[in-house]
């Protein structure tokens, strides 16, 4: 791994973290509405895995989608504008935080019904197989999502049809306030994949290198004709499920313990230990990210709201 790449991953992780800290403030100021689900703590998952994909691969995820959108390379201004419900947003202000998409970059959202997008991923993978391309689909979902019918039907069909899809479970230990041991009978979630004869691996989600390597391996297997693959990535969300979560279901000690494994901290220590950059150079990256975000917030705040007639556009292609 060359130095530039590693520093760029660092920048991407910091961008997600700081973007969401801004969002949290904007939410408290009443400028972002609806549900807001922060990805803080899980940054290494999106960064490690999306950077392992090839250009024509697809990405689709659930409502905790800011990180994926930013790593995909969506315009930060347009992502921030979507958070504020502005017409310049990626989804013209009609989707909000949970529904970011960037179809040009093959990022299909941002989906808010738990598990439903696994079926969409199945269909996207089918389209690629049907057309005989070498593209795969990276489909992200939570531990809680492995309990809904969509998960089981989608894994099964992907196996029956040998579809080019990489199932990526971001196991952050909870579905809302329900811990894995309390929500699923097979707590070793990767085991569920074996029910559909899909090869699976478990990965340390705080280690961006481990995530990257596992994703590369799984995608290579898919492109080698070995069918769908499954990764269970062990991670943790440092903040609540969404804004206003009373956090009654876990202890401060537990959170503190996981925070010692902050994925950005781990990467920073690695960079310093390997002399890839100095502390000052990393701080310069942080500062550049903040400047970039100042711009994004400015852009979003000064963008116009959707025009009233936008209520009725985009319902159909052909009216």
């Amino acid at each position: 791994m060359d130095k530039e790449t590693i520093l760029d991953w660092y920048r991407q992780m910091v961008l997600i973290r700081r973007f969401e800290q801004r969002c949290s403030e904007l939410y408290q100021a009443g400028k972002i509405g609806g549900f807001l689900h922060l990805y803080i703590g899980q940054e290494a998952v999106a960064v490690g895995s999306i950077n392992a994909k090839q250009e024509n691969d697809h990405v689709i995820t659930a409502y905790r989608d800011h990180g994926h959108a930013l790593v995909i390379g969506s315009d930060t201004n347009a992502v921030m504008a979507e958070m504020l419900g502005k017409s310049t947003g990626v989804s013209k202000g009609k989707g909000g935080s949970m529904h970011l998409a960037d179809v040009e970059r093959r990022f299909w959202g941002g989906h808010a019904v738990v598990g439903a997008h696994l079926s969409l991923a199945t269909g996207i993978a089918l389209a690629e197989q049907y057309q005989g391309t070498d593209a795969a689909v990276l489909c992200y979902f939570g531990d809680g999502a492995t309990n809904i019918g969509y998960f089981h039907e989608s894994l099964n069909l992907s196996g029956v049809w040998d579809l080019p899809v990489l199932w990526i479970c971001e196991n952050n230990q909870y579905g809302m306030g329900t811990a894995v041991e309390r929500h699923t009978a097979a707590t070793n979630i990767m085991q569920k994949a074996s029910g559909y004869d899909i090869p699976a691996a478990q990965v340390d989600g705080m280690d961006v290198f481990a995530v990257h390597e596992a994703t590369q391996k799984a995608l290579a297997a898919i492109r080698n004709g070995e069918g769908p693959q499954f990764l269970e990535i062990m991670t943790y969300r440092f903040e609540g499920h969404s804004m206003g979560d009373p956090l009654r279901y876990r202890t401060k000690e537990e959170v503190e313990k996981w925070r010692e494994d902050d994925p950005i901290g781990i990467l920073e220590r690695h960079i310093l230990a390997e002399n890839l950059a100095s502390k000052d150079e990393l701080e310069a990256i942080d500062t550049a990210v903040e400047t970039h975000l100042d711009e994004a917030v400015n852009f979003a705040e000064s963008s116009p709201l959707p025009a009233p007639e936008e209520l009725f556009t985009d319902i159909y292609v052909e009216n």
């Binding site: 990626v90 019904v113 696994l118 269909g123 996207i124 069909l157 292609v317």
Partner: protein
């Protein structure tokens, strides 16, 4: 012109569209090797092969959702629900996904998808297998909902549904598969969202669609013998609803009866009646009547089931109350 069944008309439309566009494919339970539960895709598996005629497991959620995903990514899927009753299992995929995808992402996506679903009562299949839930699906903007009543419309509208870039729920009333009608050879399209006058008359407007349209036409013939000339308007498409021919007819007859196979409450009749009084109040001469399914689940026992469903006598009685 040949007189063919609605089943044949649907088969022809599917086959011609499969030949016309390589992106069109069929997926669903028993669509392939079996030949389709209602034999609409018989022979397709041999003709087009397993790549384009795809048997699925019994997994309605992913049949619906994967069809949406494939459509988003550039294919033109025709997904079949064995019956519309099982589409309830896929309600989320249809309503939250097929119908919302384009809007929610600000027009970035298109979902050129046809969901075919046979439905309807009258076949002694019991309460879970006899629904006519068309209106439930027609409630939501983003989905197009059509249900033809003649072989001619069936062929032309299925072609239109396959060619439109929007998701279409194509409801086929199972008792209509055997109905025969004239269908020209070759390619033609009947547009979605256009209601059609199927019989002209001056005394009363009967609004109907699908199986109800056949009932309405039979009732109109009987009424004609008694000197009552009914105009019969076929909605054909429930969303987007084309009210123009209904209102035009009503301005001539001043009276209307709405015939539908679904339950009366919150139904098509309620919608049409409301629209007529909103948009044609000055022409209103009598209460608008509704002929619809009774407010009970459909029972198995034949006579009891028939008593709950619409029929020619019920339509005639409703007409006579206001004419």
């Amino acid at each position: 012109m040949a007189r063919i069944t609605m089943r044949q008309a649907l088969t022809d439309a599917l086959r011609e569209e499969m030949h016309r566009d390589e992106r069109v494919f069929i997926m669903g339970e028993e669509v392939g090797v079996w030949g389709g539960t209602y034999a609409v895709t018989r022979g397709f598996y041999d003709e087009f092969g397993p790549r384009r005629v795809r048997d699925t497991p019994i997994s309605e959620m992913v049949i619906g959702g994967a069809a949406v995903g494939a459509a988003m990514a550039g294919l033109r899927p025709i997904a079949e629900f064995m019956t519309i009753n099982f589409a309830f299992v896929a309600f989320d995929a249809i309503i939250n996904h097929a119908a919302k995808m384009r809007y929610m992402f600000g027009g970035q996506m298109r979902v050129p998808l046809v969901l075919r679903a046979p439905g309807g009562g009258g076949r002694q299949l019991g309460a879970t297998h006899s629904h006519t839930p068309d209106v439930i699906f027609a409630h939501f903007p983003g989905l197009k909902v059509v249900s033809p009543s003649t072989p001619y419309d069936a062929k032309g509208m299925l072609k239109a549904a396959i060619r439109t870039d929007d998701p279409v729920l194509f409801i086929e009333h199972a008792t209509l598969y055997q109905v025969r009608g004239e269908v020209p050879e070759g390619d033609y399209v009947v547009p979605i969202g256009v209601s059609d006058v199927k019989r002209e008359g001056t005394d009363v407007t009967i609004v109907a669609y699908a199986q109800g349209l056949q009932v309405a036409l039979a009732a109109a013939e009987k009424l004609a013998k008694e000197g009552i000339e009914a105009e019969v308007v076929d909605l054909r498409t429930l969303r987007p609803l084309d009210m123009a021919p209904v209102l035009k007819s009503f301005q001539k007859t001043f009276k209307a009866v709405v015939v539908e196979e679904g339950h009366r409450s919150y139904g098509i009749g309620a919608e049409i009646a409301a629209r007529i009084q909103e948009e044609g109040f000055d022409y209103l001469d009598a209460p608008i009547k509704r002929v619809a399914q009774e407010e009970a689940p459909l029972p198995y026992s034949r006579e009891l089931e028939q008593s709950a469903l619409i029929n020619v006598d019920k339509v005639i009685a409703a007409v006579k109350e206001i004419v």
